[in-house]
Symmetry: C2
Subunit: 281 residues, 2 copies
């Protein structure tokens, strides 16, 4: 296996396999994406999701609100989508414009349609190691590690960053795989000590090339979740060119974790669809 | 401050302060404890809870089912208690006899009456750092540390044990206090390395005197959650007599974390009561 972990290739394999699966469905799966405002980055991400849906055969429902919309209108739309049997996944595109409470809105999404896995109930189920919809980026990380045959049992996994989107769900997923998990963040003293101790190092801090060569141990597996834009070029949270010479495996940016997030979203939509179809029989 | 952390004394202070508070209530707070079967240890724990309720002025409702009861009857009782405006806290005494699904039953308890903080939704809220009812033992640990003025920000906290009752909720609580958290368990390789690195070491594994003197660093704070019975004597998970000579602070067994669990349960009942009273105005 190569040293550089290829998320793009694995994504294509997953999309391909989902496409084959969807061919046998009588009713089309449907993903509804709610967007508030017109953030350019959000537009790009939504386009990528629409493209993946199109490729697989998932109906893509784009619901767009202006920034002037009242929160109650968004809530009413979520409730309507919750009750719509032809909508199988609901996603609120983040970040929201000022004045909207993302956390409040997200928790209106029905747990079985919450394909971003961000509701309180799905996070709680994940920690209790119960079937649930799991946040896409951490799920993508686990899939990459599994695909690369990285054994996690008893290994030291250090997670840098404790966001609700990545770090926190990842703790639960890593514990479920019997890893010894350390969570570091902006307040951590002596960060290098923890990163150097890692058999698997996951970095999600949003700071360009934050992790240097002297902060990792040889033979580590490094997963870089960062996407930092500078002069129209993308950089990860890891100093890729230098760190890659030292470690066993590493994900590039772009082409590592990023593509997996979309692949896992599509997987979540199909899983949610299948559970809902089973229930309605 | 003394080296030995006195949980019994702090518990008494808390009970005393709750007692004064309850004096001003027009309606009595009520805790309902559901017991299935007749486990002797459970009987002892329930007695301790009843005694604390009595002391404070909380009405204690003991609902006892035989082992032959059908699960649906227990579920119906939980739903009845959920809807009873004079019941403010509901607790299912664990462990349950064979044939009962504890996890399923617990998740029937209304989130705002779940004074053990064990439902999926309350665990998820805790991780998302939102107001919720928090599991009593981990909450008691945080209270002890706070009372002893132990600064957690940026400090290395090692938790040994990842149970739903202690270890897992504690991860969230420690992260909310900006600690760097490491979670170890039965599959952890080189456990000593992690325990020796801890500024605060929390042990909840249920093995008599499992943590030895050479596994802790000087000046550590050691929190022993274990309660192991042998020849009618109680032992913690830490080799107390030897470890105490080395570390800065340590909880004894009994008289450390144990009493705090009951104190936090009582606190949860009063908090749940007050929120429910506010809502009904």
């Amino acid at each position: 296996m190569s040293k550089i972990i290829d998320g793009k290739k694995l994504k294509e394999e997953i999309i391909d396999s989902l496409k084959k699966e969807v061919k046998h469905f009588m009713i089309k799966p449907c993903l509804a994406v709610i967007q508030i405002g017109d953030d350019p980055a959000s537009n790009t991400y939504i386009k990528a999701k629409a493209k993946a849906c199109d490729e697989i055969g998932i109906y893509f429902k784009h619901i767009k609100f202006t920034e002037e919309t009242k929160e109650i209108e968004v809530i009413n739309k979520i409730i309507e989508l919750n009750n719509d049997e032809y909508v199988h996944g609901i996603l609120l595109q983040l970040p929201l414009p000022d004045g909207f409470n993302a956390d409040k809105l997200i928790n209106y999404i029905a747990r079985n349609k919450d394909v971003d896995g961000l509701t309180d109930i799905n996070l709680g189920k994940l920690y209790n190691n119960k079937p649930c919809l799991i946040s896409c980026t951490p799920q993508g990380i686990m899939k990459l590690l599994e695909h690369e045959n990285i054994d996690l049992e008893g290994k030291n996994v250090t997670i840098v960053g404790r966001s609700n989107l990545v770090g926190k769900p990842l703790i639960g997923l890593m514990l479920n795989k019997n890893a010894t998990v350390t969570v570091c963040h902006s307040k951590t003293e002596n960060l290098s000590k923890h990163t150097k101790n890692a058999d698997v190092l996951v970095v999600a801090v949003g700071k360009k090339e934050f992790i240097k060569e002297n902060m990792v141990k040889e033979d580590a597996v490094v997963i870089d979740v960062g996407i930092n834009k500078e002069d129209n070029k993308l950089y990860g949270d890891v100093d890729f060119n230098k760190v890659k010479t030292k470690v066993k495996k590493i994900t590039p940016v772009p082409g590592g974790v990023g593509p997996m997030t979309v692949a896992m979203l599509m997987t979540n939509v199909i899983n949610a669809y299948q559970k809902q179809q089973k229930k309605s029989v």
